[in-house]
Amino acid sequence: MTVRENDGVADGRVGHDARRTAGFDWVAEVRTALMVAHRELLRFVRAPGRLLSSFVLPLTFLAVFGLGLNRLVGSNGNVEFVQFILPGVVAMIVLMSGIGSCVLVIWDREFGFLREMLVAPPHRVSLVIGRMAGGTAIASMQGIAILLLTPILGVKLELLTVVATIAIVILIAVAGTAAGMFLASWIKRMESFSAIMPLVMMPTMFLSGAFFPIQTLPGWLAVVVHLNPLTYGVDLLRRVVLSAQVSAADSHGPFTSGVALFGYELPILVEVGFVVALIVVFVALTARRFGKPT
């Protein structure tokens, strides 16, 4: 069939928005992303359950593993066990919250709101970015809230450490949200989500070095742990949070940080690189899948 170009017939007031916005409109795309993020935040504050669980869970972990096992495991002179797992718990809660943000995508698909977004003019990448921004903001705030406990647990902090810590929390939040978006692009129904979530979360959490030092693991377990992206996130956070506390002399104690690959200790920037690469892969895969109409 032949398709004639719209020659912009003056048709009164109808459709004048349309003529105004031909071509790619950066401002509109950014406003879209911000609006999508804004909605994500609105939904978060309107679900008191989510707010509550995001505190109860990490505090339980800290109480059980930290205070409970602290007596048993003891300290490393400078670092106590509870201080050791604090960054692990924070990384875990940030990741969990990030991945969990895909619930809303699945929910939107099931309850129809996704169609309202997909049929709108903005580019789908703007929608994905907006969702990620919202999910990241929520996840980072949760992580930072738990980090407020650091002084109580006796962790020494410096201003630079605080800034670096926040940056890394945000990085982990972005990674978690990207992973969540990727999952949401595959999981179509709420039931599958509740089945898959623990399957993804449990091994990721417990095989990441969040709760134990990874230097002393048996071979097969060490392989699994080193393949787990969260390992690098946890280690980054731990290195930064405990930086003021750990001196070179401690590096062979029981609660050491740092990840070694093939006997080579990775610098912080390489770990950051790993996480960033992961984010890029997840975002690319997600955009690809959401970009296609059926």
Partner: protein, 353 residues
């Protein structure tokens, strides 16, 4: 089926549609609002839409009438760029639905068959979200929100969460939302399903009001009385358009009059009527015969029925008749009607009696 409460609107509408052709042709360059050519969609082995073609004129109220699974929603999804056609193509507001999807999206408003509001947001927040996505200039948002909320009578509930709305209020809010960005073409997929008669008539009031604002409206429905409001109706069945014309023309195609009969044995009566060459159909209550002139045909009909006649009623054809006429023919084509063998058996039974 409940009739419309808003009869005045229907009357006004029919006047409107007669005055329309002049106003349409007066436009110098009149592009069809929607132009569809051989559009088809296949899901695996299911042919949901089998090559439909039609045009919708700007400002027209065009209705898709068809039973469940006819392919109405699938057609809308393709026109709204949510689904890619398997074959054929279409342009909406002058833009190709596949290659210029973004331009199409900017110019259409859509009310889906299923609810698509966020129930955890308020009415106002839902509208704001929409306004940003559709690039409504920020300075115009408050005025436009007020206008559309007033149109659907929800101004006083704008700060309530949608979760607290009734089905009818949700539907009306969706219509308000679809109008927020002043679309050229509005798609309404079964906008009145699940609404009570009052809300339905209220919604039709809204729809007809939109026509006053020169919005082209494409709607789907199961309800014959709703289709009656349209300028033109396309009857869809099994993924095909079996008829497409104005309600009046469609009714004229059926025949001038319909005669409803109830007899002691409808099967036998149908046999004898068919033998006498009457266009006879089975309805839920009895038989229906289409004749050029009801009053004159009655005596002939009575003579042709060889069983006891219990009721006879002559009426002008309705869209109900149109639908039966066209889909009935389809069903016969599918082999769903009487087979030659069955007819034989029945003829034998009749002669034995």
């Amino acid at each position: 089926m409940p009739r419309w409460h808003s009869v005045p609107y229907i009357c006004r509408m029919s006047v409107h549609s007669e005055s329309r052709p002049e106003s349409v042709s007066s436009g110098s360059k009149e592009l069809p609002a929607i132009q569809v050519a051989d559009l088809a969609k296949r899901f695996g082995s299911i042919d949901a839409v089998r090559g439909v073609s039609f045009d919708v004129k700007p400002g027209e109220l065009f209705a898709f009438l068809g039973p469940n699974g006819a392919g109405k929603t699938t057609t809308i999804n393709m026109l709204c760029t949510l689904a890619r056609p398997s074959a054929g193509g279409a342009s909406v507001a002058g833009f190709d639905i596949v290659r210029q999807a973004q331009q199409v999206r900017q110019r259409i408003g859509l009310v889906f068959q299923n609810y698509t509001l966020d129930p955890q947001l308020t009415a106002e927040e839902n509208l704001r979200f929409h306004a940003v996505l559709y690039r409504v200039p920020r300075s115009e948002v408050p005025a436009r929100m007020e206008r559309v909320l007033k149109l659907v009578d929800l101004l006083d509930r704008q700060n309530s969460r949608v979760a607290t709305f009734s089905g009818g209020m949700i539907r009306r809010l969706e219509i308000a939302r679809a109008l927020l960005h002043t679309p050229q073409i509005l798609f309404l997929d079964e906008p009145t399903v699940g609404l009570d008669p009052q809300t339905r008539s209220r919604m039709w009031h809204d729809v007809l009001q939109m026509r006053e604002e020169d919005v082209t409206i494409f709607l789907t429905t199961h309800y014959l009385d709703e289709a009656e409001n349209a300028d033109r109706i396309a009857i869809m069945d099994h993924g095909e358009i079996v008829a497409c014309d104005t309600p009046t023309a469609l009714k004229a195609m059926v025949g001038a009059d319909a005669v409803d009969l109830v007899t002691a044995d409808d099967t036998v009566a149908q046999e004898s009527l068919l033998r006498c060459g009457y266009d006879t159909h089975v309805t839920a209550d009895g038989l229906r015969v289409y004749v050029p002139d009801g009053a004159r045909a009655v005596s002939g009909l009575v003579a042709s029925v060889d069983v006891e006649l219990q009721q006879l009623r002559v009426h002008r054809p309705t869209l109900d008749d149109v639908f039966m006429h066209f889909t009935g023919r389809e069903i016969r084509d599918d082999g769903g009607g009487l087979t030659a063998q069955e007819q034989q058996v029945r003829t034998v039974t009749t002669s034995q009696r």
